[in-house]
Symmetry: C2
Subunit: 358 residues, 2 copies
């Protein structure tokens, strides 16, 4: 299937990622239709076609499916029933399996480890009684996490003792949980990979990520890693995408260890915050790449033109955008009406215009 | 006046330039409202806010003005009455004077020459009797042009004799006309300049343009001109923008002569086809720059990251977009439903990823 110019891309989710996907789709000559329960969704401002309805509203989903040629999404927590319902009516990319694997930390880790790609040592925690043996195996500190619905540092707790783990177990919902060994990483990196409908895989260069309060703060490219480590990240990403028979862009976060080895932290079956740098300095950015993949078009060139640091603008930090951007700075504001603490409002790309890539 | 995030930009005209302005405004966190008589306008696909009405529909114009915070346009042939009507209700950038000057070739040439900026020798042709003395002054061949409503090579005729000139005078409408000397240019270049509300002026690098059948075919950056010629283009652009007390982006086309001197061919009080390369390789592109200017924001950095050739896709040439873009190629399709001969359907930017700017 290769979508013709003028076809309509259906997007589940109306946040900034859906908005940026819609903008990229427009540049390629597609129409877009955004489905989101929130009438204030920022993505509604960049297309005239919208459905405001709950994700379990089957009449609304059917109408949405009838109005579009392909369905994609901006968030991995699309309910399984929603995905199944839509996939029966129109192509859904990435597919329900990619969602199922990435919605559950335990299933994700099992899947990835099964491919021979390293993940952090971990144990499933179904009951409080599982904590003691798991802590004995993994040591302390360790991280207790919900298997589902965690994001931006939510749904996880660092624990240094059995008592802390038991308290965290009592606090965290929903169960089951997963206990992960503390990984003594020297840096966090991520890679944005795309797999086309023809099975071709294109990866962007790895980014080095710094988090602040559990939320991505900066992504720097190039990352301070060796060529061998970068190659390993690309190889791991390609293996995961191929094993999922994936179509679209996925983001993979890694812990980089002192010896240069990598462990997968988590995967996201979608465009990713740590890939926002691509819009400023790449021939093809992650949003266009995703649209190309789900449209059945050949993937684009991920070549990078300059060094760059992407910086998230959280809450009131968005106030910098109307001011003087300064040399090399390219701002992006998401059009969110209300600024709240911890809310992603926009980002800056700081481009090193004096330091070419080639 | 500095527009806050979330304000609404009103855009007259729903073609590809309006569409690209709306996409750029969205990236800066603005809403957009597009006004166009054509219900099939491509810009309607990138915003939920539209007015479909004639440009002389004062009730519709009043409603539009009430819905927006600032008004701009994508084409220089906005009727003077429309501009005056809107400007009384909301800020209009660029203003009515910029429109008046650029809508009339004769007024434009007189204005530019009055600034000491060279233009091609020319004579006003009000009646057929004006042709013989004008041809005697300017020599042959010469170009007879309508003073109003010309674009993409329409409304002009090359004439080699008085008889041809008289025939062209009889054919071309509306009168009056202007006869221009044939300029023995070695290349055509253009420059995209921006002037902020604070009077600051930022220019992009000059592009070298090749036309085909009267329509822009390619814009190449850098142009094969000397640094002195590039500086002269910037200087001329700045002088014109300042004299107009201009706010926004304007495009200026020049003839470059064998001795390196420049003559202004024409100016456009808007983003310009020969500036589409900026979206692929500049920190700030011409569309964002225009939005920044009319929003009263500081202008952005026009730095260029790589060499580039922009190629227009006319008519069925748009069919290349869904195929493999190839290394360094960044396509843009305008979402026009119908491909017609001579119609601008999209463009490609061919980026020289191996040849850095710095």
């Amino acid at each position: 299937m290769s979508l013709p110019l003028g076809a309509t891309i259906g997007i589940l989710g109306g946040g900034q990622l859906g908005r940026m996907l819609a903008l990229a789709a427009a540049r390629l000559g597609f129409k877009t239709h955004v489905y989101c329960p929130d009438p204030e969704s920022p993505a509604f401002e960049v297309t005239p076609h919208r459905t405001i309805a709950a994700y379990d509203d089957e009449a609304a989903l059917a109408g949405f499916a009838a109005a579009v040629d392909v369905v994609t999404y901006e968030f991995e927590n699309v309910p399984a029933r929603t995905a199944t319902f839509l996939a029966a009516l129109k192509p859904l990319h990435p597919d329900a399996r990619a969602l199922a694997v990435s919605q559950d930390r335990l299933a994700e880790k099992t899947f990835i480890a099964g491919l021979g790609v390293p993940v952090a040592p971990h144990r499933a925690i179904h009951a409080a009684a599982d904590l003691a043996p798991a802590l004995a195996d993994l040591g302390t500190p360790a991280i207790l996490k919900t298997t589902r619905l965690g994001y931006d540092g939510k749904g996880q707790r660092r624990v240094a003792s059995l008592a802390e783990a038991e308290q965290a177990f009592a606090d965290l919902r929903p169960h089951p949980l997963v206990l992960e060994a503390f990984v003594p990483f020297v840096r966090e990196i991520s890679i944005i990979a795309a797999r086309g409908a023809d099975g071709s895989i294109v990866t962007f260069e790895p980014a080095e990520n710094v988090h602040r309060d559990g939320i991505l703060h900066t992504s720097t490219v190039p990352a301070a890693i060796s060529g061998a480590t970068a190659d390993a990240a690309r190889e791991h990403a390609g293996r995961i995408a191929a094993a999922l028979d994936y179509v679209g862009v996925l983001g993979i976060e890694f812990f980089a260890l002192a010896d240069g080895n990598l462990m997968v932290n988590e995967i996201a079956p979608r465009v990713h915050n740590s890939g926002h740098w691509t819009e400023a300095v790449c021939v093809t950015d992650q949003f266009e790449q995703h649209i190309r993949a789900i449209a059945g078009w050949p993937l684009g060139d991920p070549a990078r033109l300059a060094d760059v640091v992407m910086e998230n603008l959280i809450g009131d930090e968005i106030a910098v955008v109307p001011g003087g951007p300064g040399p090399g700075v390219r701002p992006h504001a998401y059009g969110k009406a209300e600024s709240r603490p911890g809310r992603k409002m926009g980002h800056l790309n700081r481009i090193d215009v004096k330091k070419p890539r080639f």
